[in-house]
Symmetry: C2
Subunit: 110 residues, 2 copies
DNA sequence: AATCTATTTGCATATTTTCGAATATATGAA
DNA sequence: TTCATATATTCGAAAATATGCAAATAGATT
């Protein structure tokens, strides 16, 4: 294994999380499995598009499926993935909050 | 703020982490500030290229700089960012370990 | 001015994202 | 069984983004 392989692997995983729609999907199916149409409806995005994003995540073992009749339910393969996404989301929320506070501060100095 | 803005922001941050060179930079300057040339040398990558990656991270407030003479030192703006990267890295290492174990297991069954 | 360090520009290439249309797969009705 | 329907995936093409290089430029120091 090349010394830089771990960075490549890490990057490949982050690449999956680097799309707003995929993130929305991750948080949607993080708690309970959901079928493609349901995901598409909640997100207001075309089924084909959701399916394409799910295919990418399936390839990389980030989501797994179970079939029930004509429907295919997707869920995250590991709770750790949700944990990681949640941690980053919190950093983002904190950051947004700080920015807002900075704005308000600047405002009060006028 | 659009309800999906948080996903966009989250995705933009992950996008920064979705490149092996940028990740290597993040871990290099996570502990102590380092100048561009030094980073380039450690990574065995052209200075111009490192500078380009740093510019992206500067724009998004992921790194900050201090000048010392002709040198410009870069460091992460927040320890939380390193924390997040470290968490994901650990997930990646665990995963790699599991894959290796699975391979060895399969081997012993022959 | 000459040098060291870093950034930017202009370009070529590669990758990602999305779409509409076509295709596949399972179910239930006739 | 065969057909129609519901659900999901794949294909081919267009547009948008990302990446990396060499060369040019900028800024600080001696």
């Amino acid at each position: 294994m090349d010394a830089k392989d771990i960075y490549k692997r890490h990057a490949a995983f982050c690449q999956l999380m680097s799309n707003p729609k995929r993130l929305e999907i991750i948080f949607l199916i993080g708690k309970e499995a959901m079928c493609v149409e349901e995901i598409a409806k909640k997100m207001d995005v075309r089924v084909a598009n959701v399916s394409q994003h799910l295919a990418l995540m399936r390839e990389k073992n980030v989501v797994s499926t179970t079939r029930e009749g004509t429907k295919i339910y997707y869920k995250l393969t590991s709770p750790k993935l949700l944990e990681a996404c949640t941690l980053i989301r919190e950093i983002m929320l904190d950051q947004a909050k700080e920015e807002l506070a900075a704005l308000l501060d600047a405002d009060s100095c006028q």
